[in-house]
């Protein structure tokens, strides 16, 4: 059985573009989608930067208006990306041509990197709390009158999984992963597992998030993770990350399934890994040990040597500790090699649960077009990030094979190994 898993469709929406092409062009042009968060108006907020989806209009993003009543903002992004990727892959046209669509649906999986529940989901209960002053009984009675009966269903962390299934009728293996910054990458890894195990023939993979909700800006800021200046990966002046919104989706298929329907193959997922540093909820190891181990494990899984890697998509969230540890891990694994390193959060913001999928799509475009965009906000490479080939200028990948690194709370690290044109 072939271990090959190929990419036959993709789509995304980010702070810099409503689809993959526009996002890609914006990044090549050095544009960032990071602005003052719209909901803040003129208020004096210490951390007011966000990579929001611009001119948010759910009706333009989701065709089914009834559906909009039972999902929330983050779900809208996820389902929009799913539709983009499915349309791009033409798998529905293929299904329509089949005599037996039942086994097609049973062997189509859905793997999701989910942001889990948000602070904003709880806001529906604020009105029920007014005047209760700690009296839970009267809160309960009021909640029954003022809160929407579908509140729980609107708030489910697996809504995108559920509605992607319902909309398209897919019934295969599925997972909904809530692993902070690696959720999206892990969704790719898990889809590959079930494809390799022969349980399914194809999978929709999606990562989505609206990480820059108002409360998150205040609270992430409170623990020192946010910048009020801008996201400057590996830069001497970097002082934190900027949260963002977005979603990315991929269609993955076994090579056999893709070839049998004559699908256009855009690339291949060769390997993946997840590691934990076991250092607590918010901490990360300064030496980047979890990152270097993740890269080695993923290359091993792909059956690929370090020297074959043509580019690195770094997590590069702009925080002091994470960027320095990551740079150290790259030096450790790749030595003084000149493999180009780039990153995308400076443009899209940190889309947390979505980032692994969005950045895999952008890496695929880098490899396909043999262009590694520069990091436009990088002015002076930080001394603690020395020895990596990162630039504000565009570079060329050294091969058609790239690695995508993402990191998350709980000391989680992930690496995806991709190649262009399968």
């Amino acid at each position: 059985m072939s271990r090959g898993v190929v990419i036959t469709g993709f789509g995304c929406l980010t702070a810099v573009g409503a689809d993959a092409d526009v996002t890609w062009e914006a990044i090549l042009a050095g544009r960032t989608g990071i602005r003052h968060a719209a909901d803040l108006g003129d208020f004096d907020f210490p951390y007011r930067l966000a990579g929001e989806i611009k001119d948010y209009n759910p009706r333009e993003l989701i065709a089914d208006r009834k559906l909009l009543k039972v999902i929330t903002r983050q779900d809208v992004f996820g389902l929009n990306a799913v539709t983009q990727a499915i349309d791009h892959s033409k798998i529905i046209e293929h299904r329509t041509s089949l005599a037996d669509s039942v086994s097609f649906d049973d062997r189509t999986g859905v793997f999701v990197g989910s942001p889990a529940t948000k602070y904003s989901h709880q806001h529906d209960f604020l009105a029920a709390l007014v005047g209760t002053t700690g009296d839970v009984a009267s809160f309960g009675a009021r909640a029954m009158e003022v809160v929407h009966p579908m509140w729980l269903l609107r708030s489910l962390p697996n809504n995108v999984l559920a509605y992607a299934g319902i909309r398209y009728g897919f019934k295969g293996a599925n997972e909904n992963i809530t692993a902070h910054g690696i959720s999206g990458a892990q969704a790719i890894a898990e889809a590959c597992r079930y494809l390799r195990d022969g349980v399914i023939d194809r999978a929709v993979v999606v990562g989505y998030d609206s990480a820059s909700e108002l409360e998150a800006l205040a609270y992430y800021g409170s623990v020192g993770l946010l910048s009020s200046e801008g996201l400057r990966p590996f830069d001497q002046r970097r002082d934190g990350t900027v949260l963002g919104e977005g979603a990315g989706a991929l269609i993955l298929e076994t090579r056999r399934a893709a070839e049998s329907r004559g699908a256009t193959v855009y690339g291949e997922v060769l390997g993946s890994s997840v590691t934990s540093e076991a250092v607590g909820v918010l901490a990360v190891r300064e030496d980047g040990e979890g990152v270097s181990r993740a890269i080695r494990l993923a290359l091993d899984d792909a059956g690929t040597a370090v020297g074959e890697v043509g580019m690195i998509s770094a997590h590069a969230n702009g925080t002091r500790v994470s960027d320095a540890g990551e740079a150290r891990a790259f030096r450790e694994v790749f030595g003084d090699a000149t493999v180009p390193v780039t990153a995308f959060k400076w443009s899209t913001g940190h889309t947390v649960a979505a980032s692994g999928v969005i950045e895999s799509i952008l890496t695929l475009l880098c490899l396909t077009e043999a262009r590694v965009p520069g990091i436009a906000t990088l002015e002076r490479l930080s001394t603690d990030c020395h020895g990596i080939n990162v630039s504000a200028e565009e570079q060329k990948p050294a091969s058609a094979l790239g690695v995508v690194v993402t990191r998350g709370f709980a000391g989680l690290n992930s690496c995806i190994v991709l190649s262009a044109n399968g």
Partner: protein, 436 residues
């Protein structure tokens, strides 16, 4: 693909449930046919339409974990997880060392209620006294309003992080949330992680509570839970004609899963083999599978195929059996569709009749119960099944726990959102027979 496939041994069990705060006390209460459902004691639920639940009782995490530092990062369900995981690891008699930490994995299913009601109350008093959020005030004071430990505690990965740190597990890690299928999917994924060679040992399980004012309100608004407040111990009655919704439970279940050969080599006590999983999506409605059983059918068939077992081999089914009108009908029809004439001979029970619905923990706890059922050669019963439903006409073990040899057990878990999980557990003697 020529090497013999790696198989997965169950070598440690741990539970915190509404019936008991460890494996032994939970199993004893299951055998006695007890109900863990009571009037809610954790908060004043008198203003809610439903005032009953299956709460964990008299739980003190310090009985399992002496170390205090990390506990301030834990919400209640993370504490259940730490205690159940500790019991499983002690039971297995193996812990990660510096040399093995990277070969240990952690796979769990966890709940969605990551923020605490007390936090929301404080937020409302400070920033939304009239119900509308004062953005200017949130901007000015928000970053000082929250403590770092509180911020950490609210992360969906908080429990996962605590488990990693507590046990020093540094290898593969996954946290799943497919509502009520989470725990079952977690055990199934853990099995695949060992099979693939990514890990040699995996701490796997599920943990959850939604018994808090927001969770309870959410389910009441939806009309999904029983309102039989005047007879709590009879409120959860899966497959009964008069069933009228599930009863919320809480807790955690964990297993230590090990590659079979290395477990044998170190002389581990092996409860059984985690032999197969089926994972499917119903893609029908958010809250239900269809009456035909479509969705659950594929999960059960997938699990049997994955384990290489036929319908004739199955002795016992731990049903999802939530006590909602639609689930129990859909599940019954799924079993009939898969098992055909065999369905009538199957011993099936829903332990949710006794401990309520543990949501994201349910599948993991019920997996542990299946391992115990094999070990003790006893199928647990379905309590409260007094009025047979003509459409649910299988053998649900209503009369009392049934002593019987169990060589192969199935555990079903179906979630809100349509995710379905089915697990196959095999007795050690059957697993060894297949090994030869």
């Amino acid at each position: 693909m020529t090497a013999a496939p790696r198989r997965v041994a169950i070598t440690g069990l741990g539970m915190v449930t509404p019936l008991g705060n460890d494996v032994a006390s939970t199993w004893k209460a299951l055998l006695a046919g007890e109900s863990g459902v009571r009037e809610i004691a954790g908060f004043d639920a008198s203003g809610f339409p439903t005032r009953i639940a299956a709460e964990v009782k008299g739980f003190d995490v310090r009985s399992a974990i002496e170390e205090r530092k990390s506990l301030k990062y834990a919400t209640s369900f993370s504490l259940f997880a730490l205690a159940a995981a500790e019991e499983a690891v002690r039971d297995a008699g193996i812990r990660p060392t510096a040399a093995t930490a990277e070969r240990w994995g952690l796979v769990s299913g966890s709940g969605m209620m990551t923020q605490e009601f007390g936090f929301l109350e404080r937020f409302q008093r400070r920033f939304a006294p009239q119900g509308e959020i004062d953005v200017a005030k949130l901007g000015a004071e928000g970053d000082r309003f929250i403590a770092p430990t509180e911020f950490a505690r609210h992360r969906a990965v908080a429990g996962q992080a605590l488990l990693h740190e507590r046990f020093g597990i540094r290898g593969y890690s996954a946290n799943l949330h497919t509502a009520c299928a989470s725990g079952g999917q977690a055990l199934g994924l853990a099995m695949r992680v060992i099979r693939s060679g990514q890990s040699d040992v995996v701490l796997a399980g599920g943990y959850d509570t939604m018994i808090n004012p927001i969770g309870l309100a959410g389910f009441c608004l939806l009309g999904a839970i029983s309102t039989d407040n005047d007879r709590p111990t009879q409120a959860s009655r899966p497959f009964d004609l008069t069933r009228n919704g599930f009863v919320l439970g809480e807790g955690a279940g964990f297993m230590v899963l090990e590659e079979w050969q290395s477990a044998t080599k170190r002389g581990a006590k092996i409860y059984g083999e985690l032999a197969g999983e089926g994972n499917s999506l119903s893609s029908y409605r958010i809250t239900d599978s269809p009456p035909s059983g479509d969705g659950p059918i594929q999960a059960i068939r997938g699990a049997l195929e994955d384990a290489g077992e036929s319908v004739e081999a199955i002795d016992y089914v731990n049903a999802h059996g939530t006590s909602t009108p639609m689930n129990d009908l859909s599940e019954t029809n799924a079993i009939k569709a898969v098992f055909g004439a065999r369905a009538a001979d199957l011993a099936i029970s829903s332990t949710k009749s006794q401990m309520g619905h543990l949501i994201a923990a349910a599948g993991a706890v019920e997996g542990v119960i299946c391992a115990l059922a094999i070990e003790h050669a006893t199928a647990p019963m379905t309590i409260n099944l007094r009025t047979p439903d003509p459409e649910c006409d299988l053998d649900y073990i209503p009369e009392g726990c049934r002593p019987m040899t169990i060589d192969v057990a199935l555990s079903n878990s179906f979630g809100f959102g349509g995710s379905n999980s089915c697990l196959v557990l095999r007795s050690p003697r059957r697993a060894e027979r297949l090994e030869d």
